[in-house]
Every structure is written in structure tokens, then in C-alpha cells.
């Protein structure tokens, strides 16, 4: 019976769809932490992206402009986060937690104030699914890879682009250097603050795109706290993936698979739905404890840079 489920293309399509809102913030976290800023604010920034995506889409009647709006607001939120943590040197974990709580409150408040208690309008435009000519016709592969939401493809391209940026460009080298030893980077003439702002803001844009996918890709509405912990699972995916883009994608796929599997098994009625819904979270803990072992985080991750010390 179990093998029968694995043979269903819908399971794998759902895996990819469920992995996307994890892979994007995990990628975002990778950028931020590679530059040396611990970022646990992905959860909050996703909510910001999700809400402002819907709001901008309603105002402009365009899902694309909605996506742009969500990403811009995610970047603005990250800019504030970067200012407090990088320029002022406040504790990154505390501020990150603050951003999460603030974003949850702000988006719920704005939802009620702008849209009333009825929620966002059902007429909100929706980011389209894409049918790739040819590929979508291939049996099994087609439904999995050929007809996903546009954000899924953006995510896959972002993973490749991030890998190239971090490991094959001069700017990527500088960003990683700042995350490993800011003092050394500074004496080599690199502006540590600029690099960290860059890392945090790119990270925020990717995280908020994850939020946009939830509100404009999977649904076409915004619900309070709709990120429901994905920002934190993304954090785990980032660590599990050893702070690399492909690693983050791999971990996100694993977590996405367990979510997809729990959705499928819910239909069978043999197993309690509570247990099944717990699966991705249990897997997160197991993955971090057992499989990762000694992880190799950027050496200066989480330490504010103060020169002359």
C-alpha cells in the first residue's frame, strides 16, 4: 500500500510544492548567515511578504505587482533588521524574535483594519501555474516538474543562481569572508557593513518571496500566521543543508516530502492525523540531532562586528 503511494506523481508534485516555501527562506537564511548575521526572522519576514503580496495584488489587480510589493516590503523589513543588528550591533537572535512577533501582530492588525473581518477578497489575483510545453506531457515527470506554480520555478532558478553567486563570484567570496572573519575582511579593504546589509536584504527578499508563494501561489488570500512555523523549519533546513543553496534545497525537499506524505496518509484513515502532522517537525529534530552531527557554520555567525577591538 505504501509503495503504491510512492508511485503517485501527485505525491512528488506536492513534495516540490511543499518544499518551495521552505527552500526560499532557507536560501534567504543562508545568505544572511554566510555574511555573519544569524537570522531567525524568516518566519516574520515571510508573513510580511505574504500579507503585502496580497495587499499589493488587490490594489493593482496584478499578481505580479503583488509579488513585487511583497518582496519590496520584505526587503524593507530586512533593512530595519540589518540596521538594528549590523549597524547598532544588537543581539541578532533577540531582534530576530522581535521581528517575528512584530510581523505576526502587524499583519493580523492590518488584515482586520484594511480588509475587515471577512478576510481578503476572493477576487485577489493569483500567481499562475506554468505548463512547460513538452515536459508537462511526459508521463510521471510531467505532473511533477512540468506544471508547477511559477514561484516553484523561480525557486529552482534562485538555488542555482545563489550557488553561483556564493561560490563562483568575487562578491560571493567577499560575503563569505565577512561571515568567517570580519576583521580579516576589513583589513583586506572590504566594507563589512555593506556586505552584511547585502546578505540580510537578499535573504529578506527570498524569505518574503516564500511568503508571497503561500498567499498568492498556493492560495489567493492571506490568513493570520499563515506561515505556521515554516520560517523555523527553513532555519533547520539551512543548518541541515550546511549553509549551502543546494543543501538547503535538499533539506527542504526532505521536509516537503514528509508534509506531502502526511497529507496523503491523512486520507487513508489508518493513522491518527495528529501523528502525521507531527512528522515534519519530528523529522526536523531528528535530522538536526542525528544526521547533521558537527555542522560547519560560518565562523563569525552571530557576532556583531566592532572594529578596533
Amino acid at each position: 500500500m505504501f509503495w503504491h503511494i510512492l508511485a503517485q506523481p501527485e505525491l512528488w508534485a506536492a513534495t516540490l510544492a511543499m518544499a518551495t516555501p521552505l527552500a526560499l527562506p532557507a536560501l534567504g537564511g543562508t545568505f544572511s548567515e554566510r555574511s555573519g548575521v544569524v537570522n531567525i526572522a524568516m518566519e516574520g519576514i515571510m508573513l510580511i511578504g505574504a500579507f503585502f503580496g496580497v495587499y499589493a495584488a488587490c490594489l493593482t489587480h496584478s499578481a505580479w505587482l503583488g509579488m513585487l510589493g511583497g518582496i519590496i516590503m520584505g526587503a524593507v523589513m530586512s533593512l530595519i533588521f540589518a540596521w538594528v543588528t549590523v549597524s547598532i550591533g544588537a543581539d541578532q537572535v533577540v531582534v530576530g524574535m522581535g521581528v517575528n512577533i512584530f510581523a505576526a501582530g502587524l499583519t493580523t492588525f492590518l488584515l482586520n483594519m484594511i480588509f475587515g473581518y471577512g478576510g481578503t477578497p476572493t477576487s485577489t489575483p493569483h500567481l499562475p501555474n506554468i505548463h512547460i510545453p513538452g515536459l508537462s506531457q511526459v508521463p510521471f515527470i510531467g505532473p511533477v516538474l512540468g506544471q508547477q506554480n511559477v514561484v516553484v520555478y523561480i525557486m529552482l532558478l534562485a538555488v542555482i543562481a545563489s550557488h553561483y553567486f556564493l561560490f563562483h563570484t568575487n562578491l560571493g567570496l567577499r560575503l563569505r569572508a565577512v561571515g568567517e572573519n570580519p576583521q580579516a575582511a576589513d583589513t583586506a579593504g572590504i566594507n563589512v557593513w555593506n556586505m552584511r546589509y547585502l546578505g540580510v536584504i537578499i535573504g529578506g527578499m527570498l524569505s518574503s518571496l516564500g511568503g508571497v508563494y503561500l498567499s498568492l501561489g498556493l492560495l489567493n488570500s492571506f490568513e493570520p500566521n499563515m506561515s505556521s512555523g515554516r520560517g523555523y523549519i527553513a532555519l533547520a533546513a539551512m543548518i541541515f543543508g550546511k549553509w549551502t543553496p543546494f543543501g538547503s534545497l535538499g533539506a527542504a525537499l526532505l521536509f516537503g516530502f514528509s508534509t506531502a506524505l502526511s497529507m496523503y496518509l491523512q486520507g487513508t484513515g489508518n493513522i491518527s492525523t495528529n501523528i502525521i502532522q507531527m512528522l515534519p517537525y519530528a523529522l526536523t529534530i531528528l535530522a538536526l540531532v542525528g544526521l547533521v552531527g558537527r555542522s560547519t557554520e560560518p565562523a563569525a555567525d552571530g557576532i556583531p562586528y566592532e572594529p578596533n577591538k
Partner: protein, 504 residues
């Protein structure tokens, strides 16, 4: 020779401290110019200003007659000033090539791995600094990491090389190699500023010396026309005794006996069957190259590491299984090699650091309640008799200079009136004045009939203080020689594992 770098009346003030007071320096083309001074004399502040890390309050820096104002290291690099910091500015997770080109990468967007590695291979050939550009810096030895630092400077086309305490972290062999590199660079006409507080190195390698004391440059002399004694006097500002005077003395009963001791860390056996004894009224020096098991041996004697087999006997009692607390109360004192990590609680006051071992006992505490007055009186007494500066018992340990921090540890350990003092690298990184003070105290313990186990990587220190010298190599004791007769050559050979021919 023409003047290359000229510094005139440079002044830098920090809150409460005048770090540099009208400092003058003149560097000529193709010379090695040493800046000699004790810790805290202002050497680091001076070079940080030259390198653009600090901005001077007044005075001028000029290179080849052109006055320069740097607000960041980037500008100093562009002007042709290269610096190798005392603590390396390297990124262990990146490769040699990545570390070197970082900040000055060729091309626009794409990182050209192959091309960069080739350029660095050429550069390392040109300056005779052989290195593998694709190796990870974290996998290199300290000496090779320093090479990467020097290459970094030349990659940026430096015209002046500043070396800030370059020998501090090197083994004697690596120091030798560095001196050769410096001499080759001089042949190529590159002027070098060499910062140090070690007289012998300065004497050996430099053409001229500028001595700094208390933020001022006190003199610039030609190295060939001066003596170590004169330099030491200039540096400290008073007559310094370079030679330790040690009256002859017969040793008494054994205090510490180590029998066939084996110590393992993880799977590796670091100490493999070592036996020796330390007697009353003697200083037993343990010489060896770093990493040959000497510090694991010390940890096993103090109880920080368990012995795998063998025995540690203290005053006739087997203490092999005893915990650290039992050993210290029995009369073992210990000066650890890393005073920041193991010797002090840096963020505690001196009062608290003085009683770290005995805070729970009378007269400092009773029924679990600390006696502030007794502790403060004790701190006053120690800080007075060991001349700890500043003389404020509520000062935070972190804010003291290295020499004074070491005095605090020494005061704490000696005031417990131990039968055995284990001193691991007690003068590491200290200046001449503080070294003299600590050596005097060790000799005082010896005169009072106590036993001292001195572990040091500095051969001079071992040779001038020890009554007997044990040489450790690869976890084994190669030989025990009488202190007065052992020569530097003999010890050097034993340290590298060469057995001596028995004479007669």
C-alpha cells in the same frame, strides 16, 4: 640610502591614555628597521596608525616625501603599505588563493579560480615563499599561514612591509625560516618594519632599531653599534639584569615523583611512559618543542587529565587518582600556560581572582558565606607585595596588562605556600621587566626549599633557571641533564629526537 617612510610627531590619545606621544620614525629604503619596546609601550598603536586602522590626533606620516592621510586600511594598501598582523588576518575556511586575492580580486563578477591560483604560484616563486595556492588555510601550520600573510602583502604590490610581532607564535625552526625570508626581501630592496620585544631577534636581523617606551620613541640606534644590554636599558628605562644569578644549592628529598606515566588524549598517546622526580630546593626544567606531550604531562600531574597508566606520587602519597581539588590542597600550585583561558576569570575583580583556589575555605569563607573583608585584606597584601599595577584591588582582571595579569596568578599560587609549583610557560608574551620579576620569584621559591617544575618552550629560560633539565620528545623523556653543563646544541638535538652518544 633615501628615506622611504617618515613619521613626525605622531600623537594618539585614547580616553585616559596617551598611547603615542610625539613619535618619530624614519625608515630607509632597503633596511630592516626594528621597533623595540615592552608590551604597552605603544608599538601596536603606532603601526595601526601607519596602516590606517587608527587616525592620529596630530603629526604626519609621509611616504617618499608625500604626506599621507589614511582613514581606512584600504587607502594604506593603495599607497603601498603592507602589514602582517600579530594575530593573522586569515580565513581558515577559504583557500590560500582566496585569502590572498580577497578584496583585490581581478575581473568583475566571476571569481577566476584557475587564474588566481596560477598568479599566486608565480608570486610565491618570485619571493621564495613556496606554498600550495589551492590548500585550505585552516590545514596549514602557523609558519605557512604567515607565508600566506606575507604573500597577501606582496600581491597588493606593497612597497613597505610591516611585521607586527611576527615570531610570537612560531616554533624556533619557523623563526629561522622567517629570518631567512626577511633577509632575502632586504636583498630585493624591500624596506621592512619589524616590531618585537625580543632582544636577540632584533639584534640578529635588524639594521637599525627604534626603541619605544611609554608611548614615546626614546632612541634610534644602529644595531651593529649597540649591545643587548644597552637596548634592554633603553626599553625598560633603567638598568636591567639580563643574566640570572643563581646561587648553588643542594636539592633535598623528592617532592614529586612521576613513574612510568602514560597519558592519552582521545586515541592518541601524548605521554608514553615518562619517569622523573622533582626535589626540594630545585628547579626542574622540562624542555621540548610544542606539541611533544609536555602540556599533557602537566595536565596529568595537576589532575586535569587522567593518567592511562603509571603513577604520580606527591610527598610519598600516590595521587594518581586524586581530583584537582585534593591535589591543590595537598600543596601543588599551578601557573597554566594560557593565563586568559585557565589562569584568571577575566571579568572578575582582582580580589576574586586572588582567591579562586581558596575562596571556600577559612579565612575567606565560613559556612558558605564569603568574608569580604578577609578577601580584600588578602588582595591588598598580595597586590602590594607583588607590585600589581594598577594598585586597585577592585580592578577588573581583563583591564590589566599581560605582565600584571601574570603577577596576579603568580601571587595567588605562591601565597598558598605550596611544596611544588608547576609553571607552564610562565613568561609567555611578557616584557623584559615582568620576566625578570617572575624569574626572581621562581628562584625565591627554590631558595626556600620548594620544588619547581618549569615547562617552557623558551630554551634560554630553561637553561638560565634549571638545576636539572629534562628534554621531552614525542611523549618520551629523552634525557635528564644537569643544568649547568647542558649546551644549547645538546638540548636542540634531544628536542628533535636525536639521542646523544654516551661519553666515557
Amino acid at each position: 640610502m633615501s628615506v622611504c617612510l617618515e613619521i613626525k610627531n605622531l600623537t594618539k590619545r585614547f580616553p585616559g591614555v596617551l598611547a603615542n606621544d610625539r613619535v618619530n620614525l624614519e625608515l630607509r629604503d632597503g633596511e630592516i628597521h626594528a621597533i623595540l619596546g615592552e608590551n604597552g609601550a605603544g608599538k601596536s598603536t603606532l603601526v595601526k596608525m601607519i596602516y590606517g586602522l587608527y587616525q592620529p590626533d596630530s603629526g604626519s606620516i609621509s611616504l617618499h616625501g608625500q604626506e599621507l592621510h589614511f582613514s581606512s586600511p584600504r587607502q594604506a594598501i593603495q599607497a603601498g603599505i603592507g602589514m602582517v598582523h600579530q594575530h593573522f588576518m586569515l580565513i581558515p575556511a577559504l583557500t590560500v588563493a582566496e585569502n590572498i586575492v580577497l578584496g583585490s580580486e581581478p575581473g568583475n563578477i566571476h571569481y577566476r579560480r584557475k587564474e588566481n591560483e596560477e598568479v599566486i604560484r608565480q608570486l610565491s616563486k618570485q619571493y621564495h615563499l613556496e606554498i600550495d595556492p589551492s590548500a585550505k588555510v585552516g590545514d596549514l601550520t602557523v609558519g605557512l599561514q604567515q607565508r600566506v600573510e606575507i604573500l597577501k602583502v606582496f600581491y597588493r604590490k606593497a612597497k613597505v612591509l610591516i611585521l607586527d610581532e611576527p615570531t610570537a607564535l612560531l616554533t624556533p625552526q619557523e623563526v629561522e625560516q622567517l629570518i631567512q625570508v626577511m633577509e632575502r626581501l632586504r636583498e630585493q630592496g624591500i624596506p621592512i618594519v619589524f616590531i618585537s620585544h625580543k632582544l636577540d631577534e632584533v639584534k640578529r636581523v635588524s639594521d637599525r632599531v627604534t626603541v619605544m617606551r611609554a608611548g614615546k620613541t626614546v632612541a634610534t640606534v644602529e644595531t651593529a653599534k649597540t649591545t643587548p644590554q644597552e637596548l634592554a636599558n633603553l626599553m625598560v628605562g633603567r638598568e636591567v639584569v639580563l643574566q640570572v644569578s643563581k646561587p648553588p644549592q643542594t636539592a633535598g628529598k623528592p617532592v614529586l615523583e612521576v613513574q612510568d606515566l602514560v597519558v592519552a588524549q582521545g586515541h592518541a598517546e601524548k605521554v608514553r611512559g615518562v619517569s622523573f622526580e622533582v626535589r626540594q630546593g630545585e628547579i626542574f626544567g622540562l624542555a621540548g618543542i610544542d606539541g611533544n606531550g609536555q602540556f599533557e604531562l602537566v595536565d596529568a600531574i595537576t589532575g586535569l587529565l587522567p593518567a592511562k597508566s603509571g603513577k604520580v606520587v606527591f610527598r610519598g602519597n600516590d595521587i594518581t587518582k586524586a581530583n584537582v581539588h585534593k591535589r591543590t590542597t595537598a600543596g601543588i600550585s599551578y601557573i597554566p600556560q594560557d593565563r586568559h583561558a585557565d589562569g584568571l576569570v577575566l571579568d572578575f575583580e582582582l580580589t576574586e581572582n586572588f582567591v579562586l583556589r581558596d575562596f571556600a575555605r577559612a579565612p575567606f569563607a565560613q559556612f558558605g558565606q564569603m568574608h569580604r573583608q578577609a578577601i580584600e585584606a588578602h588582595a591588598e597584601r598580595l597586590s602590594e607585595s607583588f607590585d600589581v599595577r594598577p594598585h586597585r584591588i577592585h580592578a577588573i582582571a581583563r583591564n590589566l596588562s599581560g605582565g600584571n595579569q601574570q603577577k596576579v596568578i603568580l601571587a595567588r599560587e605562591v601565597s598558598r605556600e605550596p611544596e611544588l609549583l608547576i609553571a607552564a610557560q610562565p613568561t609567555r608574551g611578557l616584557d623584559v621587566g615582568a620576566i625578570q620579576f617572575i624569574h626572581d620569584k621562581l628562584l625565591e621559591l627554590r631558595a626556600n626549599g620548594k620544588a619547581v617544575l618549569l615547562v617552557s618552550l623558551e630554551l634560554d629560560e630553561i637553561m638560565s633557571l634549571s638545576d636539572r633539565i629534562g628534554v621531552i620528545h614525542d611523549g618520551r623523556l629523552m634525557a635528564v641533564l644537569p643544568g649547568g653543563q647542558a649546551t644549547r646544541e645538546q638540548l636542540g638535538l634531544l628536542m628533535t629526537g636525536v639521542k646523544l652518544e654516551k661519553e666515557g
